[in-house]
């Protein structure tokens, strides 16, 4: 029997595949179902302090190469989140990562405080400073600046004892320096990467951009090489663990990005291609590969590409 368990910031995951933020993450019922289908953990949609409507439709589409979205972080705000999470967390059968977002830096602190007040706390807190789809509204993401990223990290750190993970953007000159700055500022982990771009696609008959927001983050198979490179580079530079996210569509993809340095593997767009079947298919593929290679514990492969 191969052991797929991994430890991330002291939290045990039965397998490393976690649902990434923004996919199927609206309700507790949806989290429970995804765990039942085999996910090792769940990340919620980004939670705002106040209700946030998000963008008009179309907000997403995909093809065989990539997926694009500009949902614009729609959410009913912290009040709804607290009630939904209050019901779900005590009953959870796999670790829950709560993802939070803010327009102003202070809002990150306010939401972290509200989450910290829950009687049963989530396992991890993921801080989204890297969404590329709300630039018109909020300006450049905080993940694009070493000092902004560190400031948000410090603020959230001061408001909660829950381990915090900073979700970084690949759309920067030097993701490694951002990773180092959040580590120094007190982050317990890093999630890399958020979607790439933003990109743009048009319908030529209608002469209109397909996404209502005109631009949107690119995910899916096309960005997998970028994710692997970012995770590889960050792993070399920091000591804190990484949730490796970006275009993972198969069990072999998951193994590759773990060897590049991911402890957990975030999965989003694969749900578009494979639906609920993804989880079991991928974990079966991982188990079989480990068996074939004679590796008993999956955690042994984390960062394997860096070993001389």
């Amino acid at each position: 029997m191969t052991n797929l368990e991994v430890d991330f910031c002291g939290v045990k995951f039965r397998n490393p595949l976690v649902l990434a933020s923004g996919i199927l993450g609206v309700t507790g019922a949806s989290f429970a179902r995804t765990v039942e289908k085999g996910a090792g953990g769940i990340t919620t949609k980004s939670i705002w302090k106040n209700p946030h409507p998000g963008h008009k439709n179309p907000t997403m589409f995909g093809n065989e190469h990539y997926f694009m979205n500009a949902v614009g972080l729609s959410d009913a705000g912290i009040k709804k989140a607290v009630s939904e999470l209050g019901d779900y967390i005590p009953k959870r059968k796999a670790p829950l990562i709560v993802n939070i977002v803010g327009g102003k830096k202070s809002e990150f602190g306010d939401i972290a405080e509200a989450i910290d007040d829950l009687s049963v706390k989530p396992d991890l807190l993921e801080v989204n400073i890297s969404c590329p789809n709300v630039e018109d509204e909020l300006g450049k993401p905080f993940a694009c600046s070493v000092s902004d990223a560190a400031e948000v990290t410090k603020l959230v750190r001061s408001k909660t004892q829950i381990p915090i993970i900073l979700k970084l953007s690949p759309n920067v000159e030097d993701i490694v320096s951002i990773a180092k700055s959040v580590e120094e500022a007190g982050a317990d982990g890093i999630c890399a990467i958020n979607t790439v771009g933003p990109g743009m696609r048009w319908n030529i008959d209608l002469r209109k951009p397909i996404l209502a927001n005109k631009v949107g983050g690119v995910s899916g198979p096309a960005i997998f090489p970028i994710a692997v490179k970012c995770v590889y580079d960050i792993y070399q530079a920091v000591k804190i663990p990484i949730i490796a996210t970006g275009g993972v569509c198969t069990g072999r993809d998951a193994l590759e990005i773990m060897m590049a340095g991911g402890t957990l593997v975030g999965v989003g767009t694969a749900v578009y291609y494979d639906g609920d079947d993804f989880w079991h298919k991928a974990t079966d593929e991982i188990s079989e590969w480990l068996k074939k290679e004679g590796i008993k514990n999956l955690s042994e492969i984390i960062g394997l590409f860096h070993k001389k």
Binding site: I23, N57, M60, F61, L206, T269, Y273
Partner: protein, 273 residues
């Protein structure tokens, strides 16, 4: 990479361009629009209709054969208002078909119950049943006679068509559920399928389940993507209504604690029916 094993959407969900070739009034603020082409839809499935520059919304498919797609649409907001301003020849985007439609199987006697603009997909459904040599009865309801839709087409297609209006301005005064209840007392029915207000469908689901009659309902939930990614349309069972639904068996629908009670708005908040 393998794809789309269990669910119905194609690997490419970029909207395709369709031209409006015709439209007519069904009732006040309700029009049927005709688009040239096909999505290859089954009755009970839905599509996402993109009004460029405004919004994209889900609509049940009222017909998809003979090279035409029909959508019966009520003017309720900015997207549909813009659509109602469009002329023949105007182009829109469409993608689909999405979701799980109504079962079409060899059954002797089938009753289809439509409430309000929920009636829209039922003629298409009835037509497929009739092709299977099933005996089709339509029960169509609305608040008043001027809001009834698809009644004439159903009659023309040879379906026995029974009408209920809340104010009695046409057909039986009362609800579709009253007509169905009476009918089930007198006749032996093999399958009931319904689309309309959720409270109506819940009453029908309960009625049929008690009598041991096979029944399917079409559950409407707020949809953002339509193909199983956003999680906006998930019921309290955790099932996505854009894939498991919209058409589900009555027993399954009755097991959802939110069925007939509440749905969720654009930001995921609970909204009571």
């Amino acid at each position: 990479m393998t794809c789309c094993s269990e669910h119905q959407h194609s690997i490419n969900t970029e909207p395709q361009t369709f031209e409006i070739t015709d439209f007519w009034e069904e009732a006040k603020d309700i029009r049927t629009f005709v688009f040239k082409g096909t999505l290859g839809s089954k009755p009970g499935q839905f599509c996402m209709l993109w009004i460029p520059g405004v919004d994209e919304k889900p609509f049940s498919i009222a017909r998809d054969y003979d090279g035409e797609i029909w959508l019966t649409i009520c003017k309720v907001g900015p997207a549909t208002e813009k659509l109602f301003d469009m002329s023949k020849g105007a182009k829109v985007g469409m993608r689909g078909p999405f979701g799980h439609g109504f079962t079409v199987a060899k059954k002797k006697k089938i009753v289809l119950v439509g409430g309000g603009y929920g009636t829209a997909p039922l003629h298409f459904t009835g037509k497929r049943h009739a092709e299977n040599s099933s005996d089709v009865t339509m029960i169509i309801g609305a608040r008043s006679a001027d809001l009834l839709i698809w009644v004439d087409q159903c009659e023309k297609s040879g379906f026995r068509t029974l009408v209920a209006t809340n104010d009695g301005s046409r057909g039986t005064k009362g609800f579709t559920t009253h007509i169905l209840e009476d009918l089930l007392k007198k006749e032996s029915v093999d399958l009931v399928q319904t689309c309309g207000p959720e409270k109506m469908m819940k009453a029908i689901a309960q009625m049929c389940t008690e009598k041991g009659i096979e029944c399917e309902v079409s559950i409407e939930r707020y949809m953002k993507c339509g193909f199983g990614v956003c999680g906006q349309c998930v019921t309290e069972s955790g099932e996505k209504m854009c894939q498991t639904g919209p058409c589900v068996k009555a027993q399954k629908a009755l097991s959802y604690s939110d069925f007939g009670v509440y749905h969720r708005g654009p930001e995921g908040q609970k909204v009571e029916w």
